[in-house]
Symmetry: C2
Subunit: 484 residues, 2 copies
């Protein structure tokens, strides 16, 4: 892939000097090594270079940056923790792209425990916000693998999901207000912490999940929740995959929706965990084809909660929906249960090359999706190993195919496009999504046209053109301008 | 106000014949009495007339209607149950406006209890959907006064709130997918029931709360929730208004967010309830300046829940945050508690003319807002009677001023604009909203420009112009074209 930058005009060179002045001496870099880091995403992918990294310290500076870039025909790549898995936060080679990194805007502006809100800069690291909430006896429930380095602005721009969606929803559900710098340089000041507000179009919704293509998020008002005091974790073995749905319904019904995680763990995946992490222990007598990891959380007293979990699992057992179960009796044991779940992705990576799709389907369609998709990918690569695990509670299955033991990675990866085509086709025909969590970025910017269809595509392009007529913000992401 | 319709051209007359054909004999009316009903909203306001009422039976028919209207330069007023309180669902006199009423599209298309979703036509009556959910042991939590006649399409178009927002959010939070007919006549087919989907802009968000100005909603996928089995209701007396916030925080913390309603009831309001409904009984020894009605719901066993409510109220009492409390011990008693709350609005209306604002503020700002706003409105009308009650749990206070006993309604209503100005100004300076629940409709279509400011206004106009360039859908609502 090209990593060259188009030559800049005199006007653009002058503009870049102006940009450096806007952010001051500690707010920019042209150091080649630093620029390379900020032009390379989490997956190591690099598509193009940037001549200038800016780290503004305020929404006002971002606004000035946008004005200068606009006048000079420069493009802007908004960047948070740069943990995109879809090439969403790095230059792609469409014009001269200035990276505007929000990391210096990392202040918690206000915490209001009566309103249960937290007003924060976009550059705050997710884990630091979890800690801030904890400090005032509240929960900020967004939880994801990259939480130690991703920034809340990026989480909002990509509508991040994670492990607690079954209970608390995606990032979109956690945002009450946004401050956004628009492509015309004006600041949309929407940092309202209101639970009810129907004064015209809900503009913040446009920017949530738009991956920086419509505006640069500089601040947000986030919802806080009561911090659960009792957390219960169980591992259950299923007689078959379809029973998982009955177990979930029962758990939700009997606990009033206190299910905070509902994760699927397959035999094949766990066998790889035990192979690569031999210290891991399995709490049931034997491995079954399908296991669930279930977490409940509440403010009930622990004994009462434990009794309820036992009662619901007993009922599931009597109904024949589970065949074995273990409930964690200590925090250490709960961590060990989660260690199995977290080991699944790592063990896959250690085992070899993986072709996977970030798909979701309606929950009721999960068993058929896995069965039918597996039949077709295994017809394609008979000795491939299906790995299907993850957030069953919200229909978000990490579905992939691991390289056959008898193939090299390179031999296997030749089939990547055809395997992905099968995965996406089955997800779509089940009424699902071809990008459940990671967004489209630059790697999937054909997806809207291919999978969502012309009506969706044309409407998205109309919105993009109305708000960012010069396609200045995050070029090459979400939509392909060539298609517009 | 004018109730005349501009004369139609020959092209338009021909188009109206075509429209009647699209919907067939049982799908239209030109009967003057029927047209008058559909041109008059819930408040009795009537601004203009319509020459034709259409009741399409499918999204396809709606699409054809839009195509015909577009070609002939006719405007469309989408209409559900016509229960708008803001002049949002009736013609306003901007061109020739055809009312497209969705009531014939009233089918539940699918219920998926594993996915916890319900796919419905836009014309389904809200209460019928509550019953459908109940039938499959689920909860559809949207609850509002007009639920027996309002339609879900209208609820979605106005992002309706109601009494359960503190627990379940507004209508926006209850929608997973939408089917929408666009101003170009195409159908946006987004009836996906997915909990995670990040394939480009979340287009449905544009239409939720846009009051029919961007698209005609014809179908929706709605979220279902576990049905609570234990419901506890309490009335508490407060030492002062500020303590209400402490009580709410404590209730949320100690029950893990199981507060489903948190309503404020003032002395003055309850005195009017007892005056106009003498059969009503008050469960505490005496009336205090401020009372709370609190409802908890869960799937716990009833005895356990009752103990928890007693424990949390005891703690509030020990902390000096409440001075008296009664917990309902039967469903009848719970209904009686709610009767007091529901009587507040009715008693106000029976007592005389009321000038009120549909405002919300951050919860932490509620006490100061009420105090400061009251000082100023009472300086204006010294013998006016402040009524401030309602959904404190989401900062949505029904704040109004009741006519002084010594004034006639007419004398009092002369002051309506200045009283409203005070209410809105105080709501805004507290970081609040001038339309919490009812939307802008045609009565508040200056509000975006006046209260939200130019950046918000211009962005809304850009979106409107991009999606509905001829301002064909629901003219005169949300935005004033003259301002654009």
């Amino acid at each position: 892939m090209s990593t060259t930058t188009p030559a800049s005009t005199d006007v653009q060179t002058a503009a870049m000097a102006e940009l450096r002045q806007i952010v001051g001496p500690s707010g920019w870099s042209t150091d080649a090594d630093i620029l390379a880091i900020h032009a390379t995403d989490w997956t190591g992918a690099r598509f193009a270079s940037t001549p200038l990294l800016l780290k503004p310290a305020s929404a006002h500076e971002v606004s000035q940056i946008v004005g200068t870039c606009r006048a000079a025909g420069l493009k802007i790549v908004p960047q948070g923790g740069n943990t995109s898995l879809a090439g969403g936060s790095v230059p792609t080679g469409d014009g001269i792209e200035i990276v505007v990194n929000l990391s210096r805007m990392n202040r918690v502006r206000e915490i209001d425990t009566f309103n249960d809100t937290m007003t924060v800069d976009a550059g705050c690291i997710l884990s630091s916000l979890q800690e801030e909430a904890e400090r005032v006896s509240r929960l900020f429930p967004l939880r994801l693998a990259s939480q130690g380095s991703c920034q809340i602005g990026g989480n909002i721009a990509t509508n991040a999901g994670g492990t607690n969606v079954v209970r608390y929803g995606n990032t979109r559900d956690l945002v009450l207000g946004l401050e956004v710098v628009l492509p015309d340089g004006r600041i949309l000041s929407g940092l309202r912490g209101l639970r009810k507000d129907n004064t015209g179009y809900d503009l913040k919704q446009l920017f949530i999940g738009s991956e920086g293509t419509l505006g640069i998020i500089t601040g947000a008002v986030l919802k806080l929740f009561p911090r659960p005091t009792a957390i219960g974790t169980a591992i259950c073995a299923l007689p078959d995959l379809a029973s998982a749905l009955d177990v979930l319904s029962l758990c939700k019904e009997k606990t009033g929706g206190q299910v905070t995680a509902f994760e699927l763990m397959p035999r094949q995946g766990l066998e790889l965990v035990f192979k690569h992490f031999p210290a891991q222990r399995f709490p049931l007598a034997k491995l079954h084809d399908w296991q669930l990891l279930i977490e409940f959380s509440s403010s009930e007293d622990e004994a009462y909660q434990q009794e309820r979990i036992e009662a619901v699992l007993s009922e599931a057992f009597e109904n024949g929906w589970i065949v074995d179960a273990a409930i964690a009796t200590s925090i250490d044991q709960s961590r060990a249960f989660w260690g199995l779940r977290e080991g699944l992705a790592q063990a896959d990576m250690m085992e070899g090359a993986l072709v996977s799709g970030d798909v979701s389907v309606p929950l009721s369609a999960v068993p058929d999706f896995i069965e039918q998709c597996s039949a077709e990918v295994l017809a394609l690569i008979p000795e491939g190993r299906v790995v299907a695990f993850g957030h069953l509670g919200d229909g978000n299955i990490h579905y992939g195919l691991l390289q056959p033991e008898k193939m090299t990675a390179a031999e296997f990866l030749v089939h990547e496009p055809s395997v992905k085509e099968v995965i996406y086709r089955h997800a779509l025909s089940a009424g699902g999504s071809t990008s459940a969590e990671h967004g489209l970025g630059s790697l999937k910017n054909e997806a809207v046209k291919t999978y969502r269809g012309d009506v969706d595509h044309d409407l998205m392009v109309a919105i993009k053109a109305a708000i960012d007529p010069h396609w200045m913000f995050n070029p090459g992401k979400v939509l392909k301008r060539d298609n517009a």
